[in-house]
Structure formats: structure tokens, C-alpha cells
């Protein structure tokens, strides 16, 4: 039995620079694994060990996902092996093409009981990859899961909704997106990093998974995000009481405070 963790190795948009016309430049942003995915691996490790399953990491992305620094970073967190689909064609690919390739890899692995993913991607934030992946596989999907138990066939999951703490049961195979507070990922130690170098890595190209994805749309224009222009008025804080008075009078003048 296998449990899969779908993870992402991508540059953080926080490190990207955005030009005046809305062009995004990632050349100075270093790709990495986000905390969401580190959390998903931590949950996956605990669930796989309890169920006696092997834990397989799967990712889809550009050239960087197959580099040793990327695969070692993933493996050192407790995965038993990784399958990476690496092709420039998948750089910045959308939710549907990425989910389509992930579904194909999961089906190819065989005997997968559960796919676990992080709560959100670092670069897109739509939080729809697990739902699309589950639908492509024909498996039930639950998101925002904070605690997860799995006995090999049935899973129990709990999450906090505005209505209260909801506990659900489902029978596998299934796709589960776990929330950022579902585990506290440990930083890998030297032993983990050394062991990671010896674990199996399978690299596939776009050609191995049905070819490069067609572009999802034609970009007509780009721009910087708009919103109210900010005034950027600096208030001297040398004297906190004077700063407080100045701020409050400014807020009252603006009608934000009565």
C-alpha cells in the first residue's frame, strides 16, 4: 500500500519582482518547498507509518523540481521515494494541467490508498488542486483537514468550520488537503539529509506523461494590482503619546473614527 504526498517546488512570489506593466520576474526568486507542503509530508509520514504504507512524494514543475537539491529537500522530510515530472512546459502551469499529470502519476503507481496535499499552493492560491485531482481520480476529497487517522481503508478527519468542529469519515482511496496547523514539520537533521541521498528518485519528462500541456488562455494584457493609492504619511513615534494623538486626529479627519 502506498500513500502519496503531492508537493510543490516553486519560487515564492514574495521574492518575485513585478514590473510597472504587471510583468512578473522570478529570476531572483529561489525555488523552495513551502511550509504547507512540509506539513503535508509530516502528516503523510505519521499516517503511512501507522498504516504500514510506503510514502511516495510526487511533484510536477519546471526544470528545478528534478535537481538534487529539490529532491533531497523533499526526501529528507520523511518520504520513502519521489516521482518528479520535470519539464519547462510545466513551469507556471495551471491547476488543471498539473492535476491531470498528478492523477496520471498516481494511477501509474498503483495501490495508492490516499493522496495528501498541503492546504494551498504558494504561487496560485486558488486552493483547488486537491479537489480537481480527486475528481480526475474519481475519489472523494476533503480539504482543510486538521487531524487525520487512516487504518488502510477508512479515514477519519476533523476540521474547524465556522459552525464548529466537524468530524467526518470516508472510505478510501481519497484525496485529503491538510491545513497548516495539522502538524508541526521538523527541520531535517544531518542523518535525514544523508539518508535522502540514497532514496529512489524517478524523473519523468512531459513526453512521459502525454506531452506538454496546451496553454490555458491567451494573455491580452497585464498590469500592477490596483487598489486605493496609499498616502504613505510617516508619523514621528519618538513620543508615543504625541504619535497616538496625531494618528487619532488624522483618522477622525478622514472620517474613519468618530
Amino acid at each position: 500500500m502506498k500513500i502519496v504526498v503531492a508537493y510543490q517546488w516553486a519560487p515564492d512570489p514574495q521574492e518575485a519582482t513585478v514590473g510597472e506593466s504587471g510583468t512578473v520576474d522570478f529570476s531572483r526568486a529561489k525555488p523552495a518547498m513551502s511550509d504547507y507542503d512540509a506539513t503535508a509530508i509530516e502528516v503523510g509520514r505519521a499516517v503511512a507509518s501507522a498504516a504500514g504504507a510506503s510514502l511516495v512524494g510526487v511533484t510536477v514543475g519546471g526544470a528545478s523540481v528534478a535537481q538534487p537539491v529539490a529532491t533531497k529537500a523533499a526526501l529528507s522530510r520523511g518520504l520513502d521515494e519521489v516521482v518528479v515530472v520535470s519539464d519547462p512546459a510545466f513551469e507556471s502551469a495551471g491547476t488543471l494541467p498539473v492535476a491531470t499529470v498528478l492523477a496520471q502519476v498516481v494511477q501509474g503507481l498503483g495501490d495508492v490508498a490516499l493522496v495528501i496535499a498541503g492546504d494551498t499552493s504558494i504561487d496560485n492560491g486558488a486552493r483547488l488542486l486537491p479537489p480537481v485531482l480527486g475528481a480526475l481520480l474519481g475519489w472523494p476529497v476533503l480539504t482543510d483537514v486538521q487531524t487525520l487517522q487512516f487504518d488502510g481503508t477508512a479515514a477519519t478527519a476533523a476540521r474547524t468550520l465556522p459552525e464548529g468542529v466537524q468530524t467526518l469519515s470516508l472510505t478510501g482511496p481519497a484525496v485529503i488537503a491538510v491545513s497548516a496547523d495539522s502538524a508541526k514539520p521538523k527541520a531535517p537533521g544531518m542523518k535525514d539529509v544523508l539518508a535522502a541521498g540514497k532514496k529512489p528518485v524517478t524523473v519523468k519528462s512531459a513526453a512521459d506523461v502525454g506531452g506538454a500541456p496546451a496553454p490555458e488562455g491567451v494573455v491580452r494584457s497585464t498590469a500592477k494590482p490596483s487598489g486605493p493609492a496609499r498616502k504613505g504619511i510617516k508619523i514621528d513615534t519618538t513620543d508615543p503619546a504625541a504619535a497616538a494623538a496625531e494618528l487619532l486626529s488624522a483618522l477622525r479627519a478622514a472620517g474613519a473614527l468618530s
Binding site: 512570489p13 514574495q14 518575485a16 513585478v18 504587471g22 512578473v24 511550509d35 495551471g94 491547476t95 488543471l96 492535476a99 504561487d123 492560491g125 486552493r127 483547488l128 488542486l129 479537489p131 480537481v132 480527486g134 475528481a135 480526475l136 472523494p140 476529497v141 476533503l142 480539504t143 477519519t156 476540521r159 474547524t160 459552525e163 464548529g164 468530524t167 467526518l168 469519515s169 470516508l170 491545513s179 497548516a180 496547523d181 490555458e216 488562455g217 491567451v218 491580452r220 494584457s221 497585464t222 498590469a223 500592477k224 494590482p225 486605493p228 496609499r230 498616502k231 504613505g232 508619523i235 513615534t237 508615543p240 503619546a241 504619535a243 497616538a244 494618528l247 487619532l248 483618522l251 474613519a256
Partner: protein, 298 residues
Amino acid sequence: MNTYVLVADSPAVSELVASAAKLGRPVVAVVVGPESVAKAVAAPGVDKVLWVSEAAGQAAEAFAPAVADLVAADPGVVFAGRKPAERVLLGAVAARLGAPVVAGATAVAAEGGTTVVTHGTYGGIAVATVAYDGPVVLVGDGGGALAGGGTAAIEAVAATPGPISVVSLAPSTVEAVDLAGAARVVSVGRGLKSADDLPLLAGLAKALGAELGCSRPVAESLEWLPKDHYVGISGQHIAPDFYLMVGISGQIQHMGGCRGAKLIVCINTDKDAPVMHQADYVLQGDLYDLVPAITAAV
């Protein structure tokens, strides 16, 4: 061709219905939930309701394949909110239609079979206007309750649930907040040294008549406040009259959730924090000095 709004358990979909109506096609709401939700959604702006009845103990997610079937019978542009079950229904439709997934759309238009969408890219750091060949699925702010007095027909649809069920719903020990509807919000970030200092911020929020929010790490990594308190792209999207950010650096993931605020004030020790360039009033200094001073002065 219809435009669809997916509804799971909650009829708070006014923003989605308003966006769907702009495409100028019949608006069909696909509702998974009790009959009361289907009735609440049969509101002005909605032309028809397809209702999948959910019995007690069933989860809306269990009906995702059924919802995908309903939309696939006559595909069109599909809207849904960000709640967990709403996203699962929308994902099932995207997979069935082979439709691109779009988040953070600010404008949607139909040009024949082409759907033109203006939306944020990479979590909202930039904006693009993109022409998609065929329907897309859009995830966005649900909005509030719909107005009453609608005449849309409700058509009950039989569906078999998938293998997910609700075992229990225990009352949460934490109080729910309505950040999205608040006129004033004070949020706290990792600049706060300890959870023991939260009363400092709660006191400020109370004095200002504001709701207390936070950044994502405060809710999810530190767990100092409940998850529904955090503002950001994946959390609460707020547009208050006045937003005070205390000890929050102002990364795009956070700013994406508060870009619509009329007035932003920040308190931060770091002169290089991104928020310093994204606020109307900037107080560079120690929150432990400034927060008590402001609370005392109100």
C-alpha cells in the same frame, strides 16, 4: 448557455450571483444542502435552482460528482466561494469540463464562446486579462445573504452521495468573528512577542470599536487566534473603512486580503518591511509603546 453558481450548505453567495449575472446568460444555482438553503438561493438574480437534497449526516462534498454531472449537461462559466465544500464542488466541475481554474477575478465577460477574465496572478502580485477558449471555473468571495422575493423555480435532483459522511459536529470553543463585514479591523502579526500580550491588542480593538484579526502565522503556526481570524489571500478578505496592522510585515499573501481597505495604518519596528510602502499612515516603532498610547488616547 447558462452561468452557474455552486452553493454548499450556505446561501451567502450574493457576490457570486452578482458576478454571474454580468455575463448576461441565465443564472442557475446548483445547491447542495437542506431545502431552506435552496429556498434562500431562489432569489432575484437567480433564474433557476437545481437542488440536491442533503440529509442530516451527509457532507456536501459527497455530492461533488453529481454537481459536475448537472453542469456538464449544459456547460457554462461556473462561480463558487472559498469555503471547503464549495471548493470541492468547483474542483469536480473543473475536472469534468476540462476548464481552467481562476482565482481572484475582478472582471468576467463573455465574447461568444470565449471567456475573458481579469484576475490576479501568483496570488495577486500582478493582474492579467486572459481570454479563455470556452468556460472557466472561478473561485472568489461568496458575499452575504441574497435578497428575498425571488421567483426562481426549484428543481429537486436525485443524487447518490459518495463515501463521505459527517460523524459529528461539536460546538467550537471559540467565538466566531465577522471580519469581512467589520467597519474597523485591527490585526496583529508576528511582531507580538507572546500570546500573553494579546489582551494589549484586544484592548486596542475594543477602544477603537474594531474586530481583532491577525496574520496567517499567528492563527496557523502559533495558534494564538482561531483560523477564521486571519486576513490574507487564503483567509478573510476584508475592505473596512480603517485597517490597523500591528507587527505585520505586509507580504503579498496578507495584503491580498486587505487591498480594498479604505485606510491602512501600520505599526512596525522594521523600516524595510513591505507594509511601510503600502499604508496611509506609517508608525515606525515598538508596538509595546505605541499600542498602549493609542488605546489610552482614544
